[in-house]
Structure formats: structure tokens, C-alpha cells
Subunit: 193 residues, 2 copies
């Protein structure tokens, strides 16, 4: 986080507007890596970043607003993890499977953030409108040899998403062991892989 | 709920011990059908059933204890819904698919109860030890033509469970439409169906 003595806002302790917002999000993500959503307060984040609660309210009127921003950031990171995995696997069927494994591994590495992404009503949008969903649709079409507007492609994407989402949730909720080799075995059974 | 004037416990307003416990669970399930876990208190349940909070504490020392009992009851009902669906479909592959569809439909019909079943730390046991899981394992073996102790049978069960659990969660979290025909399409893609 950068401190700039020329800032026009003394109360922000030198944070430029965008810098403070980024610093609050970064601190929220840091806390979320160790704790649950319930245990985090805007007041604590303000204290840790070194600004007043009033300064925080300029960016996030309440905790829900900050959590929505964290969920959005988490969604971006989840998508990036999937893009990177698909790239590394060289696309096609291996890329589709790698995307699925990356999804489950992201959930296990970021439990609170993953839960936050899908906690309604923070994400009232339908997942199918997300950029990452479009990416999956393209991969599913490529892996299954179908076209983008083929209804079978849509079903295949929902199938693959359900599979990895369920596996992630059951592992997070300790219904089945969070075993790395098990992720490979289950995702490897996917008919498109 | 039965009222018995010969009860030894006046404070329980005539409830036999087992009757009161059942009445408290029934009232908890009734409230859970309309509300979230967070909004329900032991005090309210006591008031609705017509007994003192002290009487409730004899059965459930705190809210977590009651919620654990509700989760256990929910798990039984979820299992019953799956058994009934498999029976109606005549077992085998159609039975396996019917079990999966019943799982998702139970979640949509009982959102708060379904979430409660899987909310850690209320169910610290691993799902694989559950009776319903053993039932699924038998169905998966029958549907896939494999033996019970074949590792492929275990992977197939985890695959099928992940698929329907993920579909249920994504529909509950409004990431994808809770569309009945969509349940059939996605579950119907399952390789064992």
C-alpha cells in the first residue's frame, strides 16, 4: 500500500482514493484467508489498514458492500486459476479436465472466499452470465466436439460445473476427504475428459 | 402431540419425555421450512410448543444440539426420498438416476434443512460412513456392473454424489435456474445412467 504525503484527504492517512479501496480489499482477503466472514468487521479492517471507520464508509457503506467486492475479487481469481490451468494443459479435453481440477483446488485453498463467492444474496446474478461460464462453454464445446449454441453444450457445462462444485463443497464440509488424488479420480471420470 | 394429565413432570405441560423431544424437533422442522437457521431460537420453539425454556434445555442444552437433531432427521428424510425414488424406478440404472434426481429435488423443497444437513461442524462425521452412502454404493455397483469393493465403484459414487450435490447447491444459491427439466437433463448425462 502506498503512502502519499500530497494526498488531498488527510483523514485517509495519505491514501489516494483508489489506493485505499484496494488496501481495504487486500486486508479483507487477508483476514478471509484465516477466518470466517462472520468474524470480520469493517471496524477491524479500518484499524488494520490505519484509517478511520468514516474513511472506510466512503468506499463501503456497510459490511455487505465490502463482502460483495471481496466476492467479485474471489470470482476473478477463481476464473484466473481456471484459465491458467486450461492453458497449462494445452486446451481441449485435457484443458477442460484441468479447469475442473483447478476449480476444486481453488475452493480447498480458499475456503471462506469460495463460500463467499456463492453465498446468496451477495451474488444475485446468475452464474451463467459470468465470463468464466462463457470460457467453460467454449471449452466444453471444444472438448465435446459440439457448437456453442448446441443445447448439449449448455447441459455439458452445467454438468461439469455441478460436478466440481459439489466435489468442492463436500470436501469443504468434510463429508468426503479433501484428498488431492481423489480430485483427479473423480474429475477424470467426467465423460468429456 | 399428545397431552397426558398423568405425566410426572408438570413443567412439561403433560408431555412425556419422548413426546416433548419429538414435539420440539417437529416444531424446529416446521420453522426451518419457512426460515433460516440463524433466525430460529430455542426460546421461540419452547414458546410455540407451550413449555418453559428449562424443559427444552433438558432435551437440548443449546441451539446447536437441537440443530444437530434436526440435521439428523433431515438426513433420514433425504435418505428415505432416495430409497423411495430408487424403488419407484425399479432399481438398476434408472434407479440410480432417480436417486440423483430425488436428491436435488429434496434440496429444492427443503433449502434450509438441506443446508443444515451439510453445515459443518454439525455433521463432523464423514458422509461415506452414512447409511445412505452404502445404499448409493450398492446402486452404483449394480448400475455400473462392478463389485462393491471395486475402487471404481467408490469413485463412481463420489462422482454421482458430487454431481447432484453441486447441482443442488448451485440451484439453491441461484447460480443456475431451479428448473425441474434441467435436473433431468443434467442427471441424465451421468455416465452410469
Amino acid at each position: 500500500m502506498s503512502v502519499n504525503d500530497n494526498s488531498v484527504n488527510i483523514e485517509n492517512r495519505g491514501y489516494h482514493h483508489g489506493d485505499l479501496r484496494a488496501a481495504l480489499i487486500a486486508e479483507g482477503l487477508r483476514l478471509l484467508a484465516e477466518r470466517t466472514v462472520e468474524s470480520i468487521s469493517l471496524r477491524e479492517i479500518a484499524r488494520n489498514v490505519g484509517v478511520s471507520a468514516t474513511s472506510v464508509y466512503r468506499h463501503f457503506p456497510d459490511k455487505d458492500a465490502l463482502m460483495a467486492a471481496l466476492a467479485r475479487e474471489g470470482l476473478d481469481r477463481l476464473a484466473q486459476a481456471q484459465y491458467a490451468a486450461a492453458d497449462a494443459a494445452g486446451g481441449g479435453k485435457p484443458g477442460f479436465a484441468a479447469t475442473g481440477r483447478a476449480y476444486v483446488r481453488f475452493a480447498l485453498a480458499n475456503p471462506a472466499l469460495f463460500r463467499l463467492i456463492f453465498a446468496s444474496p451477495l451474488t444475485p446474478c446468475h452464474g451463467q452470465e459470468l465470463e468464466a461460464f462463457q470460457f467453460l462453454r467454449q471449452n466444453a464445446a471444444a472438448a465435446g466436439g459440439s457448437t456453442l449454441d448446441d443445447p448439449a453444450t449448455e447441459t455439458r457445462v452445467l454438468f461439469a460445473w455441478s460436478l466440481v462444485h459439489g466435489l468442492a463443497m463436500l470436501m469443504l464440509d468434510r463429508q468426503i476427504p479433501a484428498d488431492d488424488a481423489l480430485i483427479d479420480r473423480v474429475v477424470g471420470m467426467e465423460p468429456g475428459c
